[in-house]
């Protein structure tokens, strides 16, 4: 097995609110992404899926305390000096954000923003050359009339085109890893499919590792090699995509799968009752137990560890498939 591109070990994030109350937003996450692999991270808002990625890039607001280890190409990112991690951000690791309208600077031309991404990492590139590069990138992500489009402002793009431009910007310096944080959430369903196709194509053509963060299992179903499901600041199940879908072990994953609409399924969508816990009011034991149909006595007191179950690893006292060697 090749060395992982990104390797997270026991990653933890602690926040302090205005009253000085501390809370753990991320409670020990282990994850790895291999070169050229697509990892889907799935969970509801507040599950910790986005901040896990922002944490090792040092993009969290001040006041967040990050511990644990995050190695990128074998190099530790946690505690890395700002000047050094800046050379990795946007160069070897590209980011795609959820809402491309607010993620672009509204008063700067899109082409200039992409050119900036290039020139931040290579001062020898002239503005003109960087803008030319932006045109090529626009072609790569299939934005029509790229020469004209690079001179436009973000508000002059449609949502789908904006997200394509955002992808172009993330790819500007040929990164080895791209982190896509809810890249399709702000888009229409038909546009979503186009963006997912584009990401799948780019990943195949460029061989980049891709982390897809989403609340929608349906989004990662067709693209991810492996999936990690997060709840309450922890990973509750992780494994190969097929195992997650066809050999579901965690009741929460099962709930998420039940909430994905299907074309032939008909009938009513099943929802998971209740709401995810706030990081300041997490229940003891397994944080999913108040909403879990299988919850029993141990769930209220003991937080289960990730253990092999079916084809994946699952943190549940009563998994839906028998525990077994896998993972």
């Amino acid at each position: 097995m090749t060395a992982p591109l990104l390797d997270l070990r026991d990653l933890r994030i602690e926040f302090q609110n205005a009253d000085g109350v501390r809370a753990e937003a991320l409670r020990g996450v282990d994850l790895s992404v291999n070169p050229g692999e697509v990892l889907g991270i799935v969970g509801e808002s507040g599950s910790g899926k986005s901040i896990a990625m922002m944490a090792f890039l040092q993009l969290l607001p001040k006041g967040a305390r990050v511990t644990g280890s995050a190695k990128f190409r074998g190099e530790e990112l946690i505690g890395m000096a700002p000047a050094r991690i800046r050379r990795i951000r946007g160069k070897a690791i590209g980011c795609i954000f959820q809402d491309p309208l607010s993620a672009f600077n509204p008063v700067l031309r899109i082409g200039d923003q992409i050119a900036e991404a290039i020139r931040l990492h290579d001062r020898t590139v002239s503005r003109r050359a960087a803008l030319k590069e932006a045109v090529d990138l626009f072609e790569m992500v299939a934005i029509p009339q790229p020469e004209r489009r690079v001179h436009q402002y973000p508000h002059e793009f449609s949502g789908g085109m904006r997200q394509r431009a955002m992808i172009a910007m993330a790819l500007a310096n040929r990164p080895e890893l791209v982190i896509a944080d809810e890249p399709t959430t702000a888009l229409d369903v038909t546009v979503q499919a186009q963006i997912l196709d584009l990401l799948a194509d780019l990943r195949r053509d460029l061989g980049i590792g891709l982390v897809m963060i989403t609340h929608d299992l349906g989004v990662v179903a067709g693209i991810a090699d492996r999936i990690a499901v997060m709840y309450g600041g922890r990973i509750v199940e992780r494994g190969p995509t097929d195992a997650i879908f066809y050999d579901t072990a965690h009741p929460y994953t099962a709930g998420l799968i039940g909430a994905v609409p299907t074309i032939d399924g008909g009938g009513q969508l099943r929802q998971i009752d209740g709401t995810p816990p706030s990081i300041f009011g997490r229940p003891p034991g397994c944080s999913f137990h108040p909403r879990c149909p299988r919850a029993a006595a141990p769930c209220r007191t003991d937080d289960p560890d990730l253990r092999p179950a079916g084809g994946s690893r699952c943190a549940c006292h009563f998994p839906l498939v028998p525990a077994g060697a896998a993972g």
């Binding site: 890039l57 993009l59 951000r89 980011c95 600077n105 509204p106 900036e116 931040l120």
Partner: protein, 337 residues
């Protein structure tokens, strides 16, 4: 854009008509009697004199007639004759407006440069000692009354240490440079008279600083808060994710966005100061519009009051127009039609 500007310019005379009408009516509704300004008190009992004065100034005409005459004169650029200087108000104002403009422009330059610099630095180093000092400096500037800060600074820098000369635009018995722009500093430079330029500049420095300090306060706080807000927005995170260092995020990303609210405040402040620099002008014996307005109001000099009102309104309307144009230029999301 051009059509938009033209349309806005065409609107201005109509807006001024409204302003002139309101100011005319308001001045008629005040209790004060303009005759008191025109007729010496001991002659008030002589009906012949009073009637003659009334006829001379048109005060014997009924209100609607006076209104029509006033507007008719206004259209021809005639703002009437001042009761107290006995000269055309337009001439008085033309003489005094450049002094005010020079003071206000200098104050705006000082205020904008200092405000932007302090705002940028305190946003960059927020929470540090520098931030606190800059904010206190800004707070003092915007909250100290000018009649106090002006007097104290005048005392300190002119009386105690003679760092700058006293009041007025030039030392006594020094002839003003040939009139080109009406700005003594600029005109002295045009005339190639460097010593005169330095004299004019040193007279301008303190009042411009006092007025500019107040402007600095407003701008520092606005710039600082807009920048800090900008730094927390998604586009700033994107810039950091691209590998931009924090000062690039601040200057290249947050600052252009902060310019949008700043332009609005700058335009408004400039217009306000044209007639609002009264206290500074009074303390520094600056022969501008503000001191003229105060004197006019004190002596119920209706034509002069009306003239100053019109000038102030024009300043506001033009400043608003310029602000809107600058706003559209700074904010690509705005399209003017």
């Amino acid at each position: 854009m051009l059509a938009y500007i033209l349309r806005r310019l065409i609107m201005i005379p109509f807006l001024l008509l409204g302003v002139a009408s309101v100011s005319f009516l308001l001045s008629q509704m005040t209790k004060g009697d303009p005759l008191a300004a025109l007729v010496p008190e001991r002659m008030m009992s002589n009906p012949d004199i009073v009637n003659a004065v009334k006829a001379q100034w048109g005060l014997d005409q009924p209100l609607p007639v006076r209104y029509v005459i006033y507007l008719g004169n206004l259209v021809q650029g005639d703002l009437g004759t001042s009761f107290s200087t006995r000269r055309p108000v337009a001439t008085d104002i033309a003489e005094r407006l450049p002094a005010t403009l020079e003071l206000v422009v200098a104050a705006m330059i000082i205020g904008t440069v200092m405000g932007l610099a302090l705002g940028l630095l305190s946003a960059r180093f927020r929470g540090t000692l520098f931030d606190s000092v800059a904010r206190i400096f800004a707070l003092i500037g915007s909250s100290l009354p000018i009649f106090w800060s002006g007097l104290i600074l005048l005392y300190l820098f002119s009386v105690r240490i003679s760092f700058v000369p006293g009041t007025g635009r030039l030392p006594p018995r020094v002839t003003a440079p040939p009139d080109v722009t009406g700005f003594y500093t600029v005109d002295a430079l045009i005339a190639g008279n460097i010593p005169l330029f330095l004299q004019a500049l040193s007279h301008l420095a303190l009042p411009a600083f006092v007025l500019g300090w107040a402007v600095t306060g407003v701008i520092t706080r606005l710039v600082r808060s807009s920048l800090i807000e900008g730094l927390s927005l998604d586009y700033a995170r994107t810039a950091r994710a691209k590998g931009a260092p924090e000062r690039t995020v601040l200057v290249k990303h947050a600052l252009p966005n902060a310019m949008i609210p700043l332009l609005t405040i700058l335009g408004f402040t400039f217009a306000y100061l044209i007639t609002g620099a009264v206290l500074t002008e009074a303390i520094f014996s600056w022969p501008g519009i503000g001191s003229y307005a105060v004197r006019a109001a004190a002596s119920l000099d209706y034509p002069a009051i009306g003239g100053v009102t019109i000038v102030g309104s024009v300043a506001f309307l033009l400043a608003n127009l310029l602000t809107d144009i600058a706003y559209a230029w700074a904010n690509p999301r705005i399209k003017v039609h």
